[in-house]
């Protein structure tokens, strides 16, 4: 029973494999869509975009521009967002010591969405005036504030005496999500029409807003957050023993908790401000990796970034090709896939298995 279904590959090899998968998925995502590109074209346009290759005179100017200004930022945004959500799920599960937690449940996404929606609706009318909403730092800043308050609230409510109570966690998550959802709903109700439609659509998760400025911001925040949280693999492992035992191993658990909440909220809030609420990726990705290989966080952190990116690229392709020329909101697809997985994990937990993935 020890090794049933577990991969015999080493953790490094699993990460290499996921990296290769990511390249394939990203190239596929770059090729498929309303405009179809061949991998050869993708390579040429990339080289031209990076200035490695001269732009041929009389070449396919429209194709080049569609690729560099629409397709490429979208592919990157989808990948980075997937990585953010995968890593975030891993961090939150480590922090809450529970496999059902993810940014969608813990209120991070909904809180961030509310913060961002506040700026979308009131931004133009107040002193926060700015030209391009996503170009400004007001949206990510308020998204961060909203996400942080919501997550902190859920964490504080569900942890008592160093232990996480699952039922309180679920209830606190429901309550905080409901309040944030109501707030966002109210904002889209009072907003004037084009904005309202945008908020509704954005709230379901979308990559259509991808443009270079926002993509850069999301990517930089992810890179910084990821590099920072990679230091905490061992600490998250030790936290599995409980707060007291982790403390005896020399870990400052209060500091760890705060750092993780800040880093996690930063990554998730900035991505949410850009693409809206995408649930369940943060749940499913670490879950698959735990079953496939190991619950060791020094493995889960990089692997969940890679697998999250792969999954998101695939889902984005599906969203683009399923009902052309329209696009499905990303959040709908992830909910359809993720909700059953969530219920399944919850049932396993209810059956009282003392540990998961054993």
């Amino acid at each position: 029973m020890t090794e049933r279904g577990r991969s015999r590959l080493g953790t490094g090899q699993v990460c290499l494999l996921l990296g290769a998968l990511l390249i394939v998925a990203a190239v596929a995502s770059a090729c498929i869509g309303a405009f179809t590109f061949t991998p050869g074209q993708v390579a040429h346009y990339l080289a031209q975009g990076l200035g490695w290759q001269a732009i041929p005179v009389g070449g396919n100017e429209l194709g080049r521009r569609v690729f560099l200004e629409l397709r490429l930022p979208r592919v990157i945004l989808a990948g980075v967002t997937g990585a953010v959500l995968g890593v975030s799920g891993t961090l939150m599960q480590g922090l809450f010591r529970n496999p059902i937690v993810e940014p969608g449940l813990a209120g991070t996404s909904a809180g961030a969405a509310l913060g961002a929606a506040l700026v979308f609706v009131f931004g133009e009318r107040t002193t926060l005036a700015f030209t391009a909403p996503l170009g400004s730092f007001a949206v990510p800043a308020l998204a961060f504030a909203g996400g942080f308050v919501a997550t902190m609230l859920v964490y504080r409510l569900s942890v008592s005496f160093g232990k996480v109570d699952v039922f309180t966690l679920l209830l606190a998550g429901i309550a905080v999500n409901a309040v944030c959802g109501a707030g966002t709903g109210f904002l889209s109700y009072v907003a004037r029409d084009p904005q309202a439609r945008n908020i509704t659509f954005w709230n379901l998760g979308t990559f259509t807003t991808a443009e270079w400025h926002g993509v850069t911001l999301v990517t930089v925040c992810f890179a910084a957050g990821f590099a920072w949280c990679m230091r905490y693999g061992k600490a998250l492992n030790a936290l599995m023993l409980g707060e007291a035992e982790a403390g005896y191993l020399g870990i400052d658990t209060r500091r760890l908790t705060l750092m993780l909440l800040v880093v996690n909220t930063l990554m998730v809030a900035v991505a949410t401000a850009m693409v809206g609420v995408i649930a369940f990726i943060g749940l499913v990705v670490p879950h698959v990796l735990r079953m496939l290989k190991s619950s060791d966080y020094t493995f889960l952190l990089p692997a969940s970034a890679l697998l999250g990116a792969v999954v998101m690229e695939v889902i984005d392709i599906v969203a683009r090709v399923l009902i052309p020329p329209a696009e499905l909101p990303i959040g709908i697809i992830t909910a359809v896939i993720g909700a059953p997985v969530f219920l399944w994990i919850l049932m396993r937990q209810r059956r009282g298995l003392s540990g998961f993935y054993g």
Binding site: T2, E3, N237, M240, Y248, L249, G250, G355, F356, G358
Partner: protein
Amino acid sequence: MVELRDISFVVGNKRILDGVNAELGERRFNVILGPNGAGKSTLLKIATGMSRPTSGVVRYAGVDVTTLGKERLATTRAVLSQHVELAFALPAEDVVMMGRYPHYGRAPSPRDREIVGRALEIVGMSDRRAQPYPTLSGGERQKVQLARVLAQIWNYDEPRIPKYLFLDEPTSSLDIHYQIHLLDVARGLLDFDCTVVAILHDVNVALHYGDYFLLLSEGRVAAATDSGGITRELLERVFRVRAHRVLDPEAGEQLWRFTL
């Protein structure tokens, strides 16, 4: 030596510890005894440097614990708790490796792996090293935790550096076999410059393994003595029972039997 100087701990207006003084000897098996609510666990938290006393000082070999950094503290002393559950499944050896976390940065050295192997050997869990922790029995889990704390303070490269092992009611959920095994291993550590401080509940077990006894009652030291000072009068007063001496004719050992 673990030196406790005038330790008091106050929560609200409740005095949980009141001027506790004790010197727990180097390379000795020190036992903290006392009824429920006497302040044993609070004292252990303070003695391990996990919580700060309201007043008083804890010193290891003369050094104030508050001046030791987190890492230094984590490599000097380890704490084995009652029972430790794991939120996720990790193989037993990964749990033991956590004891080496304060010793290495990114990746464990071959030496760390060797120590984990030796620790598993000492507790007799070498053949179960790959088994997921949650699938082990309660007794086996406690063996793995014992191996983890052994690995944590394992430091043969620097002999003569004092090491401290604190046991917080480590045997309370174990059957007799695992109890004896755990305490035998702990006792064996004294030969490796390790000082043991244990909270135990069974007076006979405590007298069998311990060298020195700190009896707490209502936050104060009722007695700090070697086994000779554990008298009937003392036990009856501290534990509010009647104590009877019985003789184990085979071992020629004095045992205590208690009634209300």
